[in-house]
């Protein structure tokens, strides 16, 4: 029912090339990118979403649909739709002043078309600007910043510098590595809690948005862009996340120049999607590695990460920390394509870590109880949070994109028959060697443009109408088989009616309501 109006307002692009491009009837497309996504899973948090909390740093999102309607959003820190869109509800529920959310979530800029504004920008904080724009041909959102004024692609991520940086980081993390090899878990605990480890201080000074978690993941700079565009015959969406130097686990693992891209394109000829992750380099415990198609390669041989014994990883497992390279999710189905991918993912089960942090020794409950009673619900939540042990997932370079087009509904001169969406009839075995499209698609989706080889094609279906009674598969109406078919249809209708209406009465369905009222659907207009 909604398809027709959608089709009626599909974009009418000029076919400037004069080629018989197969214009689609409608489309949807979207792209989302965030270089650093933090997910928090804690069922005790009363937010009806999974994960319960999320933070997307340098977040960009665009979407487009038939119309064309375009939207773009950029945010330095997007808390996900439940909180970002419904901040006012949460503020009210927590008993906080409504003025806090009077204008919605503040750290974002949005653009839309049709509507206002079609372009928007915001300087979230000095050095970080987000820009969003939307028009009839697409939407773009982009933002980025460097924690130390350097973003991905800056010169200091070059080989020489990164090697020296890796060495210094490895040196800084050497104590931690040695301790973990020796099975001393308290070393990481003291680091996380801001102990004497010098690198922890350095990390904190760098302004890492993750605070104490910055020791586990320290992104040196990040940027993202999401873009979608529509042409006469195809739609494309691209999401890109870039990170500069990423240090994991206090510098034990260092990734240089992480770029994650997802690109989806759709046209009536089909759809494609391509997720891609690339790292400039990888350093583990001071040893440089590189990624190849066979895995991680060091000193010319593919090994299971030489120089790094199992003990640190096992020790980290005991701490509830794991690092994974996630597999891309990719789906292509006809004219629909979508993919999502992320770089390395760090998962932290905080239960063992919180024990190491010795939070129970801090007077947090006393501090929370000192909050005014007017923030009663917030107090309750904070106290509950002390008992919580959430799972935290840090995803580096999360991107996703999707694109879908659908064929237009066309009518022949008779005005009744929709055009087929693809070519269901077998292509005639010709060897004309015209070097045409090469796609093997013989279905003309109603563009009306006569092909140069039209004379060789079978005559149009409308010129060769076959009597209904002669259509293979259906018996003549007056024949015995025909009567049997009609009888079977009538019997099926009768059984269907009985199942719908009679069975309720037989099994007491007419009085299924515990209040003794009948069940059904009354015509409210006639009561």
């Amino acid at each position: 029912m909604l398809a027709l109006p959608v089709l009626a307002t599909s974009p009418s692009f000029a076919d400037d090339a004069g080629t018989p491009a197969q214009a689609y009837g409608g489309f949807t497309t979207s792209a989302t990118a965030t270089p650093l996504r933090v997910e928090l899973y804690e069922p005790a948090i009363p937010i009806p979403a999974d994960p319960q909390l999320e933070l997307n740093f340098s977040f960009t999102h665009v979407e487009g649909a038939s119309g064309p309607a375009s939207k773009a959003r950029v945010s330095a820190m997007w808390p996900g739709s439940p909180v970002g869109e419904g901040l006012k509800t949460f503020v009210t529920q927590l008993g906080l002043p409504e003025q806090l959310a009077a204008n919605g979530y503040p750290v974002q800029a949005n653009a839309q078309s049709p509507g206002d504004p079609s372009t928007a920008s915001q300087e979230f904080f000095p050095g970080m600007v987000g820009r969003a724009s939307a028009d009839d041909t697409g939407a773009v959102a982009r933002t980025g910043y460097g924690l130390s004024g350097k973003v991905a692609g800056d010169d200091d991520s070059g080989d020489d510098d990164s090697d020296s940086a890796a060495s210094s980081n490895a040196a800084g993390a050497g104590g931690l590595l040695d301790a973990l090899k020796g099975g001393d878990l308290s070393a990481l605990g003291s680091l996380l809690s801001g102990g004497s480890q010098s690198h922890a201080d350095t990390s904190a000074d760098s302004g890492n948005p993750l605070g104490a978690l910055g020791l586990l993941v320290d992104p040196g700079g990040m940027s993202s862009s999401s873009r979608t565009s529509y042409t006469a015959d195809s739609v494309t969406s691209v999401a890109t996340s870039q990170l500069g130097v990423v240090r994991l686990l206090g510098g034990i693992v260092q990734l240089d120049g992480v770029t994650v891209t997802s690109k989806s394109t759709s046209s009536l000829g089909g759809a494609t999607t391509k997720p891609k992750v690339s790292f400039g380099g990888l350093t583990i415990a001071g040893t440089a590695f590189k990624f190849t198609s066979d895995g991680i390669e060091a000193a010319g041989s593919t090994t299971a990460i030489p120089g790094l014994s199992d003990s640190p990883l096992k020790a980290l497992e005991q701490l509830g920390i794991s690092i994974d390279l996630t597999q891309p999710a990719k789906e292509v189905d006809g004219e629909t394509a979508s993919s999502s991918i992320a770089g390395p993912t760090v998962t932290i089960d905080t239960q063992p870590v919180l024990k190491l942090l010795s939070l129970d020794k801090l007077p947090l409950a006393d501090l929370i109880n000192k909050l005014p009673d007017s923030a009663g619900q917030a107090k309750g939540l904070l106290l509950a949070a002390l008992e919580a042990h959430p799972k935290i997932v840090l995803k580096l370079g999360q991107v996703s994109s999707s694109a879908q087009t659908i064929a237009p509904v066309t009518f022949d001169d008779g005005g009744t028959t929709p055009a087929p969406s693809t070519s269901p009839t077998p292509a005639p075995d010709t060897s004309t060697g015209t070097g045409g499209t090469g796609t093997g698609d013989t279905g003309d989706l109603g563009s009306g443009a006569p092909d140069a080889t039209a004379a060789d094609q079978p005559a149009p279906v409308t010129a060769d109408i076959t009597p209904t009674s002669a259509v293979p598969g259906l018996p003549p109406l007056g024949s015995v088989p025909g009567m049997l078919v009609l009888g079977a249809v009538a019997l099926a209708a009768g059984v269907g009616w009985w199942l719908r209406n009679g069975i309720a009465a037989v099994f007491g369905g007419g009085a299924s309501c515990p209040h003794g009222l009948p069940s059904g659907l009354p015509d409210l207009r006639k009561v």
């Binding site: 909604l2 069922p43 059904g520 659907l521």
Partner: protein
Amino acid sequence: MAVPILEAVGVRAAYGRIEVLRGVDLRVPKGAVVALLGPNGAGKSTFLKVVSGQMEQTAGDVHMAGVSVRGAKPEELARVGLTTVPEGRSVFPNLSVEENLTLMSYAGVPAPQVLDTAYSYFPRLHERRYQLAGTMSGGEQQMLALARALCSDPALLLLDELSMGLAPLIVEELYDTVAQIAQSGVSVLVVEQFARTALRISDYAAVMTGGRVVATGEPEEIRSIMADVMLGGAA
């Protein structure tokens, strides 16, 4: 006592493990305007979703004209005369006003009749009939949503936060139209966070907090106890 067009008995509903409705009892007499008031998060919109079949209750029953409609689908309820105007208007932003209205002809009412009905209630929509709905003001979009609902010939109209994000003058104007609709015999259940305007046109009112109806009565009665109830005094 006449059978109410809508009666909720002990309706409970939840989003996953979070129970939002904790036993809602409410009656809407035929031809009446009932205002369901309450603070943000009280469960009002969830209740409308249950009544309109968009969400299944976990316990309790919804009766319409003395018949249990448990398990009925939204489209089935719409077909028998239940119409919802959701929060946020949900107009098609890329279609013109006239195209938005013409869509309603797919429900079976001829397009000219749909347009006549809409423009007679809201002459301003006629002035804007070729304008894209997405480019109209919030008040005009709400008019369009309401007009579209009227074109389905409703017997029971559910209005969710009609005043959301609108200027007070526009809200007054919209509620005047709701009163006019009610006079034509349509039963109306208005869910509102801002009580004053809704109470002005209501025959009855109920206050909901924490997933329960904590007070019902005549508008004057509710107005006098509103502050106490909303702040938890009657809970």
